[in-house]
């Protein structure tokens, strides 16, 4: 029951987001997506199913993909968070971002930040995945527009470029 929830408890957080350190108090029950969107204004991370199913809110914590809707902010203490806003270096897009544009790996674009971040985590772990490995890795990232052929092509292309 929410009446009993003590909303006054906070946690003294130190976290790095997109390479920049951030410290401050956050409510213990605050999710990472609330922190990123609400406190830091990083609205590229998208809210959709809020149940760790659809992948729209995927960000990287210490290079691993997590669903920021179901991850409490304080769990990121002392860790490094990477969001879609942190991928490009200045005007220089990440090879994944450029490949998503070339291959129409996005249509409405709502799932796109999550798709790209999940793909980023994949390439960090496996720089040259097969299409099958890509499909398996991205099984938790739903694209209702059905841009999967473009997404798969983009990831393959970006992986070849990196090598």
């Amino acid at each position: 029951m929410q009446d009993e929830l003590d909303t006054s408890q906070t946690f003294a957080l130190s976290v790095t987001v997109n390479g920049r350190p951030w410290s401050g108090d956050v409510p213990v029950e605050e999710t990472l997506i609330e922190f990123l969107r609400g406190r830091l204004g990083l609205t590229g991370t998208k809210r959709s199913c809020e149940a760790q199913v659809c992948g729209a809110c995927t960000v990287l914590v210490d290079r691993r993909p997590i669903s920021s809707c179901s991850y409490l902010t304080f769990e990121a203490n002392g860790k490094s968070v990477l969001t879609i806003e942190g991928l490009a270096i200045g005007e220089q897009l990440d090879p994944l971002q450029a490949a998503f544009i070339r291959n129409i790996g996005a249509q409405c674009g709502y799932c796109t930040p999550g798709q790209i971040m999940a793909a980023k985590a994949l390439l960090l772990e496996n720089p040259s995945p097969t299409r099958e490995q890509i499909a398996h890795w991205l099984r938790g990232n739903i694209c209702r527009c059905g841009a999967y052929p473009g997404i798969a092509a983009a990831i393959l292309e970006a992986s070849r470029e990196k090598r």
């Binding site: 674009g109 099984r139 527009c145 473009g150």
Partner: protein, 771 residues
């Protein structure tokens, strides 16, 4: 050339086609891959913003005895509550839906009054200082319900003695539609054989990844400012104004990027509630609905397709009679459009001299159903394309030959008042079958198999009618002293690449690079009517309006050039983005600057589709949107599991305005088609919607889609849109289920007739498990 080589050559050809189109990147994608694209949830709060939560009915059918919101209203931070007893004299009935061919009456209050008629119907909205308080307040509202027996089947709803959902109507029948030509009785007499086939499609949910119904609503000083993801902002202004008794000009709707729609993104009941509360508490109100709420806003019509088909012994179709039962859910919503679209598409794409189609649309206690990608046509194509395959095989004729013989040929008319057939189906079929290395002949099903895996191939044709009606579409072009062209319009970017399309058409018309064209986000304050991004309308109607605005802007530039630099307007012309007279030429910027550095020239462009008239079912159409598809599948006869190994679809696009985007639309339709064919069904049981969340509703993921997905387009530049284009975004989705269903028959000799095609249904069809 062998088929495999042919396919490789085609794929090479396709690659070079994309490269040769020398397209600029789609203009919205830079924002979308960097996280910069703003959707409704991403817009900043207005000063004094409040946050609203909704109370939805847990019952599919119940009488409301009482609502007590006093506890919620006393909770600190709660600012306002709206439900049936807190209406301040407002009539809660939403305006009747408009349809050019049907007279519809209003049947849905924005908050439930005497009854709730579906699981998820809006009962109350609470606005508070923060979202947490609003959600707590909603839980404190006590509603006394008297549960009533629910109806989840449209055929049962139409049976005598069924409980009546809208008592004042006295019947659950919402409307009927008929389409007839020839004399169907005579047709069946002339037929040598007559077949009967029944196919069903369940309710499904559009499931855009951005939830339905978010908004920022501000209603102050008798003026409305609304930001919302909607597909038809200009139409919405009229409905909102009508509901609140305002002048339409007092309603301004702005649309940020929209996170998918597929027909579902509309002004929801809760948005009307948010507007009501904003006026009452004199502060802006924000709605940010959950996935569960989104699921209860909209759905696709369940449908039963029952056909009687008469064929002559030489394989010529003689007569077709179709009975359709359409389930619109609790309220009218999209009932008229869907029923009409189903009726006028139920005959497929075939030459049939005698046709009689009768559609009945009924109320049930399901979530109200609205337009869904290829509205009405997904369900009817599942019916007619499986039925045609089945009839061909029962006649001992190859389905491919049967289709070739009976499909309308270029230039033929289906009936009075229709455009002539504008495609060559035999070419589409040849390409679709070759793309999966298939000679188009059936496997010899029924033969003993070496293993329990069986492979089969099947095909389907699609004939989506092109855009229909919608009234005049307008766009405005401006050019400033820098030479930057900006296009204003009311066309949301909902995923298809509409803004890129506008940019390409404007740039080509004016002969300037796309980088010099900006495309505004929709803003109804510009007073530019457009029926919205639906019904394959955008390329045709908005494309033509933008082309026209570009042409008019050229004339405006020419008039100014003559005035500033001399000569008569007819001596001037625009060549490759420059204004030329004899050997002198100027940039657009140089001419606009003659009026000063802050000068702007403007032009309006418009397009009017053919009129829609009651006398002709097909009126308002100006072209067809055809495609052909082929599938290769493998069935595990022990487990019933199905794998799609290859899928191809060839759409007649006339001319792809941006080839890569158009191809992605064709592919996207196929992907959604996979969901509808194999997984998706909104399940109702024991009075409730059982699987109303992403976690409980199986959507297609990348691994479901074969790598061998071949999507291509025919470009004969013969459409009525800009540069010979046609509407083509909805033609692929409808082919998927029947192509797969026909391939299953080819593999194992049995038919699944009820979507989705699950392993269980395959085993049942094989007689391996009981009914």
């Amino acid at each position: 050339m062998g088929i495999r080589n042919w396919r490789e050559a085609k794929i090479e050809n396709l690659k070079s086609k994309i490269e040769n189109h020398e397209e600029s990147p789609r203009i919205d994608l830079q924002d979308k891959v960097t996280g910069a694209a703003k959707y409704i949830d991403d817009l900043p709060d207005l000063p004094g913003m409040t946050y609203a939560a909704t109370l939805l009915s847990p019952y599919s059918h119940a009488r409301i005895r009482a609502i007590d919101s006093s506890k919620a209203e006393r909770l600190p931070g709660v600012l306002g509550v709206v439900h049936r007893d807190r209406l301040d004299g407002l009539n809660p009935l939403l305006p009747a839906h408009r349809h050019e061919l049907f007279q519809l009456t209003a049947d849905q209050p924005f908050v439930a009054t005497d009854k709730v008629r579906f699981d998820g119907e809006l009962v109350a909205v609470v606005a508070a200082e923060d979202m947490r308080t609003a959600l707590r307040a909603v839980e404190m509202i006590e509603v006394d319900y008297e549960p009533l027996p629910p109806l989840f089947d449209a055929t049962e709803a139409l049976a005598p003695g069924a409980p009546i959902l809208h008592e004042s109507r006295g019947t659950n029948l919402l409307l009927e539609d008929k389409l007839e030509w020839g004399d169907v009785k005579r047709g069946f007499k002339e037929a040598d054989r007559v077949f009967e086939e029944v196919y069903t499609s369940p309710a499904m949910f559009h499931h855009p990844m951005e939830p339905i119904g978010g908004c920022v609503a501000q209603f102050a000083n008798d003026e409305i400012n609304l930001w919302a993801p909607t597909s038809s902002p200009f139409r919405d202004t009229g409905e909102i104004a009508h509901f609140f008794g305002l002048d339409p000009e007092k309603v301004r709707v702005r649309v940020p990027y929209v996170g998918g729609g597929f027909g579902s993104k509309v002004i929801t009941s809760a948005i009307f509630g948010a507007l009501f509360l904003s006026r009452k508490i004199r502060r802006p109100v924000r709605l940010a609905p959950s996935a569960q709420e989104s699921f209860r806003q909209n759905s696709r019509h369940a449908m039963v397709y029952k056909a009687k088909i008469g064929v002559k012994s030489d394989g010529a179709l003689a007569a077709l009679q179709v009975d359709l039962v359409v389930d619109t859910g609790a309220y009218t919503t999209g009932g008229a459009t869907v029923t009409h679209n189903a009726a006028i598409s139920a005959w497929g794409c075939y030459r049939i001299p005698h046709v009689s189609i009768h559609a009945r649309c009924a109320y049930t206690n399901k979530v109200p159903a609205s337009h869904t990608r290829a509205t009405g046509k997904v369900q009817t194509t599942w019916g007619i394309e499986c039925a045609i395959d089945s009839v061909a095989r029962q006649m001992g004729i190859e389905p491919l030959e049967f289709r070739k013989k009976n499909a309308l040929r270029r230039g033929e008319f289906v009936a009075k008042g229709t455009p002539a057939m504008d495609t060559d189906y035999s070419e589409l079929m040849a390409e679709a079958t070759a793309a999966i290395q298939w000679n188009g002949r059936s496997s010899s099903s029924g033969l003993p198999r070496a293993s329990h895996f069986a492979r089969g191939r099947g095909m389907a044709l699609s004939l989506r009618h092109g855009s229909q009606g919608g009234g005049r579409a307008y766009a405005m072009a401006t050019i400033d002293a820098r030479g930057v062209v900006k296009i204003h319009h009311n066309t949301p970017e909902i995923g298809q690449g509409t803004h890129n399309l506008i940019s390409v058409v404007a740039a080509k018309t004016l002969g300037i690079p796309q980088s010099e064209v900006r495309v505004a986000q929709p803003d109804t304050a510009m007073q530019l009517p457009f029926a919205g991004v639906s019904a394959q309308r955008t390329t045709m109607q908005m494309g033509k309006a933008v082309e026209n605005a570009g042409e008019n802007l050229k004339q405006e530039l020419i008039r100014l050039a003559a005035q500033a630099k001399g000569g008569k307007p007819e001596e001037w012309q625009v060549v490759q983005g420059r204004l030329c007279r004899a050997e002198r030429s100027f940039t657009f910027s140089e001419i606009v600057r003659t009026l000063g550095g802050s000068a702007v020239l403007k032009s309006i462009g418009s397009h009017s589709p053919p009129p829609t008239v009651r006398e002709s079912a097909f009126s308002g159409m100006d072209h067809w949107a055809p495609s052909a598809a082929a599938a290769e599948i493998e069935v595990d006869c022990e487990t019933g599991e199905l794998r799609v190994l290859q899928f191809s679809v060839i759409a007649d696009a006339g001319k792809a305005i941006h080839y890569a985007s158009a191809k992605a639309q064709v592919e996207g339709g196929v992907v959604m088609g996979f969901g509808h064919a194999l997984f998706e069904e909104v399940v109702y049981q024991e009075g409730q919607l059982l699987n109303g969340h992403t976690a409980e509703y199986r959507l297609p993921v990348m691994g479901d889609i074969p790598e061998a997905l071949y999507a291509s387009m025919v470009e004969n530049e013969d459409g009525p849109g800009p540069f010979g284009s046609k509407g083509m975004s909805q033609t692929s989705i409808v082919t998927v289920a029947p192509a797969i269903g026909n391939a299953i028959y080819d593999a194992i000799g049995v038919r699944v007739r009820d979507l989705p095609i699950t392993a269980e249904k395959i085993l049942r069809a094989l007689g391996k498990i009981g009914k």
